[in-house]
């Protein structure tokens, strides 16, 4: 399907199997069968104006702007045809507006009709300056309008959700938004309503609003509109009918400095564009990366950037005054000296490093190297969440070193005959994976299975099958999979996806590895955070060194010592402690200090223990973007740059390297990436990391190379005994973090928070009755073991197994882990909390 198709010796275009030859504007071209004329023309560099056509949406032929003249077998078709709906055919002759006066006139006529009801809003419209309607009205419209009557008007703008504003006057009825919602996201959104001149985009609620501007945040079914993907409709609307509430009137395209970047929101590593104006991020847009996110990003990626400008940013290094016990601003020199002295002293008894799951590859590498060289320890772990030794073995054996070629990629999900999601809620934990699963199910007939406790929206929207499992019993379910499912997973190309909550179920990673082994399905690990996969490769783990080398492997250590220019035997030989052990040791006073890089204690398996650890550790150094529970207890706080303010790279869950440049140049104290701060700190401690800049860190990483010598047997842990319910009001907890739950990246963005799902606790009707609860009532959740607080949530009835409840991991009602100290698979107690106000 290339333009420079081979010509045979007579100079004729060769037409390979499955291709056709046609003529567009007098140019002969070979195109694959089924390609739409508009796309073939585009490849030739012939631009046909269009509004409704979008390469990733099904053809609609709604706007009629793309009319061209088509001739088949020497006979012209009676009327101009919509080039976005007609596939190419052999011998077709197409004349676009460039060569056909008929097509040109038809396009101008359509444009005139579209503009009849279009308001003269350009000066106040957010789309102005980047508006396909403006542009194409100039290129393919008449200069004068013949329409003199009154235009149709609607009250505006109507909020369809807290993020999206609808202006029906500006709409050209192209249906890109409705098609996106139905086809791509699968969320009922706005629809085409009414007929004729009254035709409009809207919801049942907006249709009634003819003169009274009132809230319209309801979908056709009257449910509040809570889509994780609605921001994409703003971006693909070819006019200003759907605009962003957060970006409203903020800037014009010519004000913006745009930088291609990579989203720091989750492990998919979506390509996006960051637009800044006067030192502030104004908006983020999805970039086109067919191999990863296509042209979509989720709303979290699109809207969660105000945290960068949060009022509680750490802007100056701070040192705790020994006398007053207060943090006081200090110079970099001073703060680094105090930190280096403290850490050097603490090193005698051991310093644990809690790295973050959100670091870039370069920063994670710096933490890893800092721990080994400056702190002389292997006590480092990036897993600021529930984790297990079994997970570590699994990651080493099955995940380390895979890449899109050797392992699972977005493309292989799309082509897979069957996909099984284990301990993974794709829509909440990796939205772009969810979109691919849905696309695969819609377009390639992929069978999607979800091993989970209830039919979540993602199960329905991926046309999936739920394999119900009580939390904790997932390994057993996997070992005794239905043979039909097992057969489907044994088909070549089948894929197994496993999420971070598997670490909370003993034996699950082992069962997943066994299943992959026995079915031959390809296996991928999809963590929630953007930096986890990179941190794994960078060896920010107690058993792994950078570049896939094992701590236990003497040869690998020697190799690294040479590459890093260290004396023989300089690297610590003993396996380190993982996050939980570091915290336990610190809490018991066994550790001399802690180095913490962007960790929220409330994410850790035991937040109370984490706080005790921070208090009991002799000396705590915190590298932070914003003031947090850690900086409150730290002895030295060093400000670091947020992701858009630094360069570096993420490694996404596929193992794909996703480099990005600085998008936002700050002029204050928080401009240094972690790797630079650690590099300087190490110099104060007489160690050289060579990570002065992310570029230098990359060089250093390249220099040591990827060895991939770390091996581990696939884990073979046994499932633990299921906690037994001793009382009728006890239940096993199923939980995961929802996409929008007020996490630290989502701070200061009310429009985004407004589209979070309604929080509730879900249970079967039986469980509710047993606990004396009814739908809509407030249930009080507490931990079955003593201590801990409560979380109050309204009850929803869902198809969970009896004796199981599901509650969101975070949100405004409280955090399961922080307030109850429990996680997925724990026993909780349910009781009534009165009816909801």
């Amino acid at each position: 399907m290339t333009l420079a198709a081979d010509r045979n010796h007579e100079g004729e275009l060769e037409v390979p199997e499955g291709y056709v030859k046609l003529t567009i504007d007098g140019l002969e071209v070979v195109a694959p069968q089924g390609e739409l004329i508009i796309r073939t023309a585009e490849r030739l560099g012939i631009q046909v104006p269009r509004f409704c056509d979008h390469p990733l949406l099904d053809p609609a032929g709604a706007c009629r702007q793309c009319l061209v003249e088509v001739e088949m077998g020497g006979r012209p078709m009676p009327k101009p045809q919509a080039s976005c709906t007609v596939p190419v055919a052999d011998g077709m002759v197409v004349k676009t507006q460039h060569t056909s006066p008929v097509a040109d006139k038809a396009q101008q006529g359509v444009m005139e009709l579209l503009l009849i009801n279009h308001p003269l809003d350009c000066p106040i419209c957010d789309k102005g300056g980047e508006c396909p309607l403006q542009n194409q009205a100039m290129s393919n419209g008449r200069a004068e309008s013949r329409f003199v009557d009154t235009k149709r008007t609607f009250p505006k703008p109507l909020p369809i959700s807290s993020q999206v504003l609808l202006d029906r006057e500006r709409c050209v009825l192209c249906q890109r938004c409705t098609r996106f919602s139905n086809e791509i996201a699968g969320d009922p959104f706005i629809e085409l309503l009414e007929r004729g001149a009254g035709q409009q985009i809207g919801t049942s609620a907006t249709a009634a609003i003819a003169d009274e501007a009132e809230s319209a945040a309801n979908t056709i079914e009257g449910k509040p509109f809570q889509s994780y993907f609605s921001g994409n409709t703003i971006q693909i609307c070819p006019v200003g009918a759907l605009t962003s509430a957060a970006y409203r009137f903020r800037s014009r395209p010519f004000d913006l400095v745009s930088t291609p970047s990579i989203c720091e929101g989750c492990s998919s590593g979506c390509a996006e564009r960051v637009d800044t104006r006067r030192g502030k991020i104004m908006r983020k847009l999805a970039s086109n990366d067919p191999e990863v996110n296509e042209e979509w990003i989720c709303d979290k990626g699109r809207f969660s950037f105000p945290y960068v400008a949060a009022a509680d940013r750490v802007l100056r290094p701070q040192v705790r005054n020994a006398e007053t016990g207060k943090l006081e601003d200090a110079s970099w020199t001073e703060a680094l000296r105090v930190a280096a002295e403290g850490l050097t002293a603490a090193r005698e008894r051991g310093v644990g490093v809690l790295a973050s799951g959100r670091s870039t590859l370069e920063d994670a590498y710096a933490y890893s190297k800092f721990a080994r060289i400056a702190l002389r320890t292997n006590d480092i772990d990036f897993r600021a969440r529930a984790h297990s030794a079994e997970e570590l073995d699994f990651l080493t054996a099955k995940v380390l070193g895979t890449n899109p070629e050797t392992g699972v990629s977005f493309a292989s999900i799309e082509q897979a005959p069957a996909v099984l999601c284990v301990a993974l809620e794709p829509e909440d934990e990796s939205p772009i994976v969810f979109l691919r699963l849905r696309k695969a199910a819609r377009k390639s007939g992929t069978k999607v299975f979800h091993l989970a406790s209830w039919t979540s929206p993602a199960v329905t929207k991926t046309f999936g099958t739920l394999l119900p499992a009580v939390p904790g019993e997932e390994p057993k379910e996997l070992d005794h999979l239905d043979s039909a499912v097992r057969d489907q997973l044994s088909a070549p190309g089948a894929v197994l996806l496993v999420g971070e909550r598997a670490a909370e179920v003993p034996g699950l990673y082992s069962a997943v590895a066994r299943l992959a082994e026995s079915t031959g399905a390809k296996l991928a690990w999809i963590p929630r955070r953007a930096g986890e996969r990179g941190a794994l490769e960078a060896g920010a783990l107690p058993t792994l060194l950078p570049g896939g080398r094992a701590v236990a492997d003497a040869a690998a250590r020697t190799e690294l010592e040479t590459a890093w220019g260290l004396e023989a035997g300089a690297l610590p030989t003993e396996q380190g402690k993982d996050t939980a052990d570091i915290l336990r040791a610190a809490a018991d006073g066994e550790l001399g200090g802690l180095l913490v890089g962007g960790v929220d204690p409330d994410d850790l398996p035991d937040p109370a223990l984490a706080r005790t650890a921070l208090r009991s550790a002799g000396f705590v150094v915190s590298l932070e973007v914003r003031h947090s529970a850690v900086t409150e207890l730290a002895d030295v706080v060093l400000p670091v740059a947020a992701a858009p303010e630094k360069d570096g790279s993420f490694v996404n869950w596929e193992g794909r390297h996703r480099p990005f440049e600085i998008a936002l140049h700050r002029s204050d104290g928080a401009t240094l990436p972690d790797c630079r701060v650690l590099d300087t700190l190490a110099i104060e401690m007489d160690a050289d990391l060579f990570t002065q800049t992310p570029k230098a860190a990359t060089e250093d990483l390249l220099r040591i190379g990827y060895a991939g010598t770390a091996v581990a047997a696939a884990p073979n842990a046994q499932p633990s005994e299921q906690p037994t319910r001793s009382k009728p009001n006890q239940a096993v907890l199923a939980t995961w973090r929802e996409l929008l739950d007020g996490g630290s990246l989502q701070a200061d963005e009310p429009a985004l928070a407004g589209t979070a799902r309604t929080r509730c606790v879900r249970m079967s009707a039986n469980t509710a009755t047993e606990a004396g609860l009814r739908k809509g009532e407030l249930a009080v959740l507490s931990a079955a073991v003593d201590g801990g607080g409560e979380v109050r949530l309204p009850v929803e009835i869902a198809d969970l197994p009896d004796g199981v409840v599901w509650a969101p991991g975070g949100g405004e009602f409280g955090k399961i882990r922080r307030d109850l100290g429990v996680g997925h698979g724990s026993l909780v107690v349910l009781r009534g909390g009165g009816s909801q106000a």
Binding site: C122, P123, I124, G128, G129, K156, P157, R248, F249, R250, S251, R252, F254, D255
Partner: protein, 186 residues
């Protein structure tokens, strides 16, 4: 060189001594400019005091010297600065850059931005030569009210634009004596 040449040279000087002087004794003797002179900008108001600027940034876009900075804002029912949805929240003209070409005036879709004849745009401080919205807004005339306030002359912005002059006459029967007449090109 002839012997009378030095005297000849003074001829110009002598003859000029008896001509009418063109030197202006600025600033003691302040003369008006030509009526269409491109002086300082002004952001005009509707007759009820609401601002005409809608924050569209077309002026900033048109400016060849990149002298204008505009950021729009969202009018709410409780806080309204202009009729319609949008107003100019932040408005700055940098007179160190402005070349007085007037292209911004032509770009303005609401006739908000015009130029007055005031030309004393010199200072010894760069900061003071960045004029902000407060410096540029037209003075309040009788009958005008300092925004924010609701639309006094109509139900929506269409009324302001289509019936502007008529509304102005009704609202201000005896206007036309002061600053408003400085609006160039109105």
């Amino acid at each position: 060189m002839g012997m009378f040449d030095p005297i000849k040279g003074f001829g110009v000087t002598f003859s000029t001594m008896f001509k009418k002087t063109v030197t202006e004794q600025y600033p003691e003797d302040f003369r008006a400019t030509a009526p269409r002179y491109h002086g300082r900008h002004q952001l005009n108001r509707h007759p009820d005091g609401l601002e005409k600027c809608v924050g569209c940034e077309l002026c900033a876009w048109a400016c060849p010297a990149d002298a204008i900075f505009v950021e729009g804002g969202d009018n709410t029912e409780d806080e309204r600065y202009s009729p319609g949805e949008r107003y100019g929240k932040d408005y700055q003209i940098n007179y160190l850059r402005c070349i007085g070409c007037g292209l911004c005036i032509e770009a303005c879709p609401t006739r908000s931005l015009t130029m007055v004849n005031f030309y004393e745009l010199a200072d010894d401080d760069r900061q003071r030569l960045i004029y902000t919205k407060e410096d540029l807004l037209a003075p309040l005339l009788p009958g005008m009210e300092q925004p924010p306030h609701p639309m006094r002359l109509g139900d929506n912005e269409q009324d302001y634009y289509t019936k502007g002059p008529q509304l102005a006459r009704e609202a201000l029967p005896a206007s036309g004596q002061s600053g408003q007449s400085k609006e160039a090109g109105q």
